[in-house]
């Protein structure tokens, strides 16, 4: 079929994919130059995460923040993770930070940088500790529940755990008030199976958006007490703690990109039905 015989829709379907890529990339930049902000509603899972932490955590309680996402997922997971850390600090919790992603050191440093003012009020070793990396496997998470010292005998900087004041009486899952796991993969599954079920430790998820679908049945059945879904969850948490930040700004780009995707889907389907009608 020559180029002239093609209908408008068929020509549209043959447009080089790179045209779409350029439109998308340029489109994503617009909100960072001219912000496009609309009100953000709070989803029930994010509200439960926020209220769950506020209700359960008493000053002095020890909580775990598990970093199971790499630097590559910062735009998606980091805003909610930072908001959660701020919330823990406000509630007076003592925070253990560890992670199962090999670049966890950088994520930890970024967390401290983004919540700089909040962490400045705390003292390392007394209010928070960083234990470093452990392999992302079920056996490691199960063993952390049995004895933290069998996996981490020292903190990341080589200080024995017994010399860190907040770790003196902490060694088992039963010593931990709750766990918040930031994930790109299935690490939260391990905490559900090896901490939530045997020890009854409440677990919440801060994950990439797809995990919002995967973990929804766990949230609906009460296995997870709350869940933040992707950057949208991050924006919701920022709203709840009253500190709009990176995720809130990014929602402008989400608006543009999602509208572009919808336009692409609508055009594709109109073209599909138009060309199908023509063939008949």
């Amino acid at each position: 079929m020559s180029e002239e015989e093609l209908t408008f829709w068929e020509k549209l379907a043959r447009i080089d994919r790179r045209v779409f890529y350029w439109i998308l990339f340029i489109g994503l930049m617009i909100p960072f130059i001219r912000p496009i902000m609309f009100p953000i509603s709070i989803s029930p899972s994010t509200r439960d995460l926020y209220e769950g932490i506020k209700e359960m955590v008493e000053p002095g309680d020890v909580v775990v923040m598990n970093i199971a996402f790499g630097v590559s997922a910062w735009p998606e997971c980091m805003p909610a993770f930072v908001s959660c850390a701020k919330l823990f600090i406000r509630e007076g919790a003592k925070i253990i930070i560890w992670g199962s992603y090999y670049d966890v050191d950088l994520t930890y440093e970024e967390l401290l940088r983004r919540a700089k003012e909040d962490f400045a009020k705390l003292k390392y070793g007394e209010d928070y500790v960083y234990l470093g990396y452990y392999p992302n496997m079920e056996a490691s998470v199960a063993q952390l529940g049995s004895s933290i010292r069998s996996i981490f005998s020292t903190d990341k900087y080589g200080t024995p755990l017994d010399e860190l004041p907040m770790m003196k009486n902490v060694d088992k899952a039963t010593d931990i008030k709750l766990v918040v796991s930031g994930d790109t993969g299935d690490c939260c599954d391990y905490y559900i199976r090896q901490w939530r079920i045997p020890y009854g430790v409440p677990v919440a998820e801060i994950g990439i958006a797809m995990l919002g679908s995967s973990y929804m049945p766990f949230y609906k059945s009460g296995v997870l007490f709350g869940m933040s879904v992707g950057v949208r969850g991050g924006a919701e948490l920022e709203k709840l703690i009253g500190e709009p930040g990176e995720a809130t700004i990014r929602m402008g780009a989400i608006n543009i990109s999602h509208i572009l995707v919808i336009i692409a889907v609508v055009l594709a389907n109109i073209g599909y039905f138009a060309s199908r009608g023509k063939r008949r």
């Binding site: 049995s146 995707v261 889907v265 594709a268």
Partner: protein, 217 residues
């Protein structure tokens, strides 16, 4: 005897450890053997992560050795950047017990690595956009249902959806909070039964693919 060591003893070890871990659930905190084995497994897993790196690096060494056209200069570069990063990190670890204290390692980690990681991970954003245009079509009822649920969720996740029509977030929220639950719950249940069946087959020595067994070996 050698054959027994290669197969039956291995299956037996797997079966014993599987049973031990399973039964320990009912005696949590009292079985030191199970706890010790989990620590061992963690150490083994930690070391074996290097296996993938060794395998990949040896492939690139072969590329260099064979002067594979269009590839070997990049393989040399990969080896150089690998060695520079490794040695600088090791220097930091040996001197101050923390690899991040080495300025070069810290710089490589903070800047090029972070940027490349985020960039490569984000590249699929382009592909999902073109996939939405080229493949996301209501060809039949199944595809139409997928498309309707997908579009409502897309517009609900973006705050602009509610500005276009206030009903969008209401319907989209239903898809997220209820609509997707039976499908996702079905996956959880089916996967759990699959894992149980697979585990029992491994326990009985009938599932052996993960041992890397090769026919005739």
């Amino acid at each position: 005897m050698a054959e027994v060591l290669r197969r039956e003893v291995v299956y037996l070890i797997t079966a014993i450890i599987t049973i031990l871990m399973f039964i320990e659930f009912f005696f949590i905190g009292t079985w030191n053997v199970a706890e010790e084995l989990r620590t061992w497994a963690t150490i083994i897993a930690n070391i074996s992560i290097a296996l993938g790196a060794v395998r990949l690096l040896s492939e690139h060494a072969k590329n260099i050795q064979r002067r594979r056209a269009g590839v070997w200069p990049f393989s040399i570069w990969l080896w150089i950047i690998f060695l520079v990063t490794l040695l600088s990190g090791l220097a930091g670890y040996v001197i101050k017990q923390d690899a991040m204290t080495n300025p070069l390692y810290n710089w490589l980690f903070t800047w090029p690595y972070t940027s490349l990681g985020q960039t490569l991970y984000a590249i699929t954003g382009f592909y999902i956009f073109s996939a939405a245009y080229r493949a996301f079509r209501a060809r039949n009822i199944d595809a139409a249902l997928l498309l309707i649920a997908g579009c409502f969720v897309i517009l609900t996740n973006a705050p602009i959806g509610g500005v276009i029509w206030s009903g969008i977030p209401v319907i989209g929220r239903w898809f997220l909070d209820y609509g997707q639950v039976p499908g996702m719950r079905c996956f959880l249940i089916v996967a759990a039964f699959g894992m149980l069946a697979y585990g029992f087959r491994a326990l009985l020595g009938r599932e052996r693919g993960f041992y890397g067994e090769v026919a005739g070996e």
